[in-house]
Assembly symmetry: C2
Homo-oligomer: 202 residues x 2
């Protein structure tokens, strides 16, 4: 084969990215080769720099260039609200909705016994200390409406109730139901049943 080893090695590395199969990886590698070398070099330098530039916030666990992160150190944030998310990237979506002005806590995963992820693998002990130290009044669980999300929400509720006995902490969870712009006809049974149970008075 004419295309040499450098191209094959790049293709192999790209195909390790999620959602990028061998064929797509090959197409991307050829595209990069066809493009101005400056593009490959900027991409290389950003990749080299990435893990040095971006750390985890020592308080909330979010990805950040400064520690504590801009959200944790923003005095205009409502410190009585703490929003629990599974992964650091979930913060971005919530921030972009501009609906929420409290603090965040990144769990680092969801309880999934089949994949060997237990409560001890998540940042749960730290969550409990933060609630006590920061005087959180409402804990909003922004976990995916999946089996793992439901299990983790249930576990957190029971664990924190026990751990923070007597505290007035309120625990809530994001509403689950029909997506805006969605069509009743295409809603699955579970989503529909949740949207019935969570119906609101007009």
């Amino acid at each position: 084969m004419t295309p040499g080893n450098a191209l094959d090695r790049l293709t192999a590395l790209l195909s390790r990215l999620p959602g990028i199969g061998k064929k797509t990886a090959g197409r991307l590698a050829y595209h990069i080769l066809d493009t101005d070398p400056a593009y490959a070099h900027s991409l290389a330098s950003e990749l080299d720099n990435l893990h040095d530039a971006i750390k985890r916030c020592s308080r909330c666990g979010a990805y950040t260039e400064s520690d504590p992160c801009p959200i944790c150190s923003d005095p205009s944030r409502d410190r009585a609200l703490l929003c629990v998310v599974e992964r650091a990237q979930d913060l971005r979506v919530i921030e972009e909705s501009r609906e929420y002005r409290g603090l965040f806590h990144v769990l680092g995963g969801l309880i999934a016994p089949l994949e060997g992820v237990g409560p001890g693998d998540l940042s749960i002990g730290k969550l409990a200390s933060r609630i006590q130290e920061e005087g959180t009044r409402e804990l909003i669980l922004a976990l995916n409406p999946t089996i793992e999300g439901d299990t983790t929400a249930l576990y957190l509720q029971q664990f924190l109730k026990e751990k923070l006995k007597g505290s007035p902490l309120e625990i809530t969870r994001l509403a689950s139901g029909l997506p805006v712009g969605g069509d009743l006809e295409y809603a699955d049974r579970l989503t529909l049943s949740r949207s019935f149970r969570g119906r609101i008075k007009l």
Copy 2:
């Protein structure tokens, strides 16, 4: 936003790749951040190295680490056959089919007047000299069965007939028709009509 500039810059660069939108680019960037830094560093070093390691073969135009490329310098190849492809990456697919044992010539594009690509932008003059120098007997046009591919094939046929007057060069084109494993029911009208015109006697 907590995720800092390094992440945004990487996302912006990744979203310039074909088929990678802003959302996918963000997901990839977070995935790279979540993964062992060694992965980001190997990807960076392959990207930095790519354009230095891979050049174009001065004879056929294929991507190669050595010049002339392994195909052009392989004495077991049938030098009477020359296969014309649009882009260097088309070589790989043809090589993988193991159907062809001749030489290649990369045109570097297809004639597309609407996009401002004329015959002068393609490696056509060089193709004519190669045919004369190498004593090519059959020129196989392996161009996409699209309007641009058809136009280019027609142009090449007329241009070479004029240029190589009196030469016994035979020009052929890859058969167009139903894809293997395809279903008649889903074949488009043009493909079906081509497969009728190109039908073969059993």
